[in-house]
Amino acid sequence: MEPERWLQIEQLYHAALELDASKRAAYLAKACAGDEMLRSEVESLLESDAQAGEFIESPAIEVAARALAADGQLPGSSTSALEAGTTVSHYRLFAKLGRGGMGEVYRAQDTALGREAALKFLPDEFLQDPQKLERFRREAWSASALNHPNICTIYEIGEHEGRLFIAMELVEGKTLAEKLKDGPLAIEEVMSNSRQLAEALEEAHEHNIVHRDLKPANVMVTAKGRVKILDFGLAKLVRTVEADAPTEESLFMTQAGAVMGTVPYMAPEQLRGEPVDARTDLYAFGELVYEMATGQRPFRETQTNRLISSILTRSPQRPSELNPEISEELEAIILKAMEKDPVNRYQSARELMADLGPPDSALRLPLSASRRVEPVTAAPRSKVKLALIAGFALAVLALLLFILVPALRRQLISSSSTNALPEQKKLAVLPFSVIGGDAGDNAFSRGLAETLSAKLTQLSSGRSVQVVPVRELSARHVETPSDARRVFGVNLVLTGSLERAGNRFRISYALVNPSSGFQVSADTLTLPASNPFGIEDQVVEGTAGMLGLHVQAAERQQVEAHGTQEASAFQDYLKGLGYLQNYDRTENVDKAIDSFQSALKVDSNYTLAYAALGQAYWRKFDTTQDTDWVNRAQKSCSHAVTLNANLADTHLCQGIMQGGTGRYAEAVQQFQKVLDIEPANTFAYEGLANAQYNLKRTSEAEATYQHAISVRPNYWAPYNWLGVLYLHTGKTARAAEMFRKVTQLAPGNHQAFYNLCGADYLLGKWDEAEEMCKKSLAIRPNGTAYSNLGTITFYEGHFERSAQYFDKAVKLEPRNSELWGNLADAYRWSPGGRAKALSAYSRAASLVRQGLRVNPRSYRLLGDLSTYEAKSSHIKQAIQNLQEALSLAPKDYQLMYNAAIVYHLAGQQTQALDYLRRAVGGGYPAQSIRIDPEWASMKSNPGFQEIIGSETQ
């Protein structure tokens, strides 16, 4: 651009900025005097200024600080000893008891309750990272729920002068580690300790708490022979602190003294870094019993790497060879607990307890452990079988009674239902099927499912129930209980039917176990159609009862609030919600708008209808891109807030609007208000984090996701969001961890698998990546997974296979120029693929040219185009487009790479190497050049070697 021109732009820009926004257009039209280019240039800058928000307003270092800090952080704790007599919160400290891997432990007196306690201070590293701290608090808090005579009780978690401490039950006695120094224990003591350990594990596992670091130093035995397990649920935290970057070194070597204390008790899956579960504790249990009974560890190697290899591959020496007093049965129990593959171990502590037998039994009953010939399946078999049989019998019985004595039916089912209910309930509410109704009734039923689900979510807050939002279900087209289980991992589904009979509705609803398909509880209501309130209230109340939720009076009031007294308004509102769920069909958005409007005609103070109408308008804008709808949405949402600012939906409406129009700071406030009112509102967490992210407050966004996870730890979506955030901030390993979690929570979700595939690929785990992409495709064919597989196999050198994958990808996404370019590359290197390559390049080039019509200044598109042309032997055109791209972005290192390729193909190797050097210097990864077949012919060129070699240091 000419300097004079730029000066002119600058002057006009500042002059216009000083004017009132409404007067700028007229001013510019006059000042530019027909120079349209000038006018549009200034206008676009003014527009950017208006949109820029907080862009680069806070210094870069604040954005990057935490990342740098994470890189530069060195291990090492600076905790200093506290003196006896010091008062910490309401505790007075006495002697120091010792120092474990987790920090110092003091004997203390609780001055408030008069009891004695042990106070454990954690190393300062915990305080460095708010997420770790949060995770720690959460874990400790959940562990504090454990109340069992064989588990050391956690009283509280507190902070003293910036140091974190845990107050716990003071246990006097010896640790097993100390006792084992004197050799094996007497067999009676082994049996007694084993039973107590198993009971403790059973209790903890029922609460979904896994110890993960069970070892002799964590087991206390009192003088009276009572066993107490220490640090339940806390071990995981130490490991996350140690092994944030899970290298072998950090896993095993950082705590030099603790290495040998921990590794011998780690299960194979733990050593491999695979997910652990209750069965991991059962492995450690086996090791403990082995050691108690023999006085020796099952694997006695002193070098860590050999020890690990033995644990992974070798069978332990038979315990009876070391101590002939060990019975065959006990040996079978130990060895079964220590099976390498968790599938072959005891599947639960309860199963183990059964084999250990009651306290005074001498272990002579027929044991499942000694029946070793029988192949053991992955499922906790005996328990499941029994449950199935019981469930089946119950169902048959229920059916019979249903026919014979309807009045008895509900009583029977609900009295037995407590057994069938899972401890942690994950519930999906499906729309009730409509029998003999019209489209409006269908929408009504969908809307009803949404409000039912919202009300059950309100009731579930702080309880062991989690409800999947209906909008999530409809977005993924979940229609059946088994879909819900597959995609969302739920273990309960509320479903039913709605039958119109004259002016009455007959509603049958049931809580169903989606795995077996059996009903857990069911009920039927008949209500006048004119009383939609009653339908909602009674179904909510009935379901809460089936779920075992005890509804408090205050909650009942809240739940029975509908926002209107007018039945027809409520009915229309529900219909509107139902239509809006399927907003992908435009006529549904229009119908939703109509329904909300007619609800408002009946009741003009119906706040929720205004909020919903605002969201419907916003949807309308989304599809039409007509900004008029934004204004309407805005008005409707603001009106809703003025009517009643205490309703979460009104703020949600505002937040979505503001976030969508780039007013992130305001959106943050609105979403926070939603969360003040409804702390479990998933949409608010999503919106809040999104807005924070866009404000560049990445760590706050991360904390928001963490919070969303802590509120609903079994709901997969926040893990996915967090994974994406990690991916964007370069924390690929953590991203993979999150995506893996998603695949576990929602094993039927194909996106989760291809996300994991992508992250594994970036981590260099190509085999795993391939497997994950294939799993994604097995669930549902999709372009992304095919494309990722194409990329992986391409770099593995399997070009024909790569081409097959890309071919499938372009069939699914035919408008994606990059995929066509990739397909062409794969053909290019396949034997006899030349003609196909040319046709694919030409397709890619024509799609890029379409993009250039929209934005002729896109140097990336020009760069891509030039490589496609060069690869099709149109060198002259390629260089021309390349030059144009280079003039737009003379330093872009991706473009440097394009230039290197183009000149390389043009046979001008000096220029090619020059650009290649600049690409690598600018940050282009040398590794991907090394494996790119394009450069195969240059491998022996010293200049080339120098360039790609120089990056490796």
């Binding site: 800058l45 949109q51 862009f55 999503e686 992210y693 990336r860 598109l861």
Partner: protein, 195 residues
Amino acid sequence: MRLGASSNEVTLLLRAWGEGDVQALDRLAPIVYQELHRIARGYMARERTDHTLQTTALVNEAYVRLVDARQVTWQDRAHFFAVCARAMRRILVDHARSRGYVKRGGGKLHVQFDEAFGMEWSADSNLLELDEALDRLSALDPRKARVIEMRFFGGLSVEETAEALGISPETVMRDWKLARAWLYRELSADQRHGA
């Protein structure tokens, strides 16, 4: 403690630069870079994450370590801050790059993800894109690029920037306002039509 530079050396280089010796800057930059990098890492490791990290505190610490304050003028100090801003830009950009962020496009095959929502500002990717856009701005209007560099990368105030560049604070604000809009447009154009 200090690596390869005495405070005297830095002071002399600063003065030489202030007196028009352009080569002095080339020798000064790596010393400042190294020192700042070291302080930054130490700082951030110590810094509790609930505190906001202040670039100026960092730069001041480097200044105290590297410069003999009795022997330099006020302008030298401003110049030093300008060097720091450049060095911070490099540190942060290098860091973002070292974390393996690879942009899409550029003739390279890459893996794709389901992005649960539209991420518009990723600390790493945008730092690199901003860095490149800033180079383009520098070709068009070097002073405006310097203003952005000092304020965004160096964390300098409007007044400090004005001193370092020898212009009025009003001009700094005007430059900032236009440059920011220009950069924002560059980056959003990339996002809409790039990749």
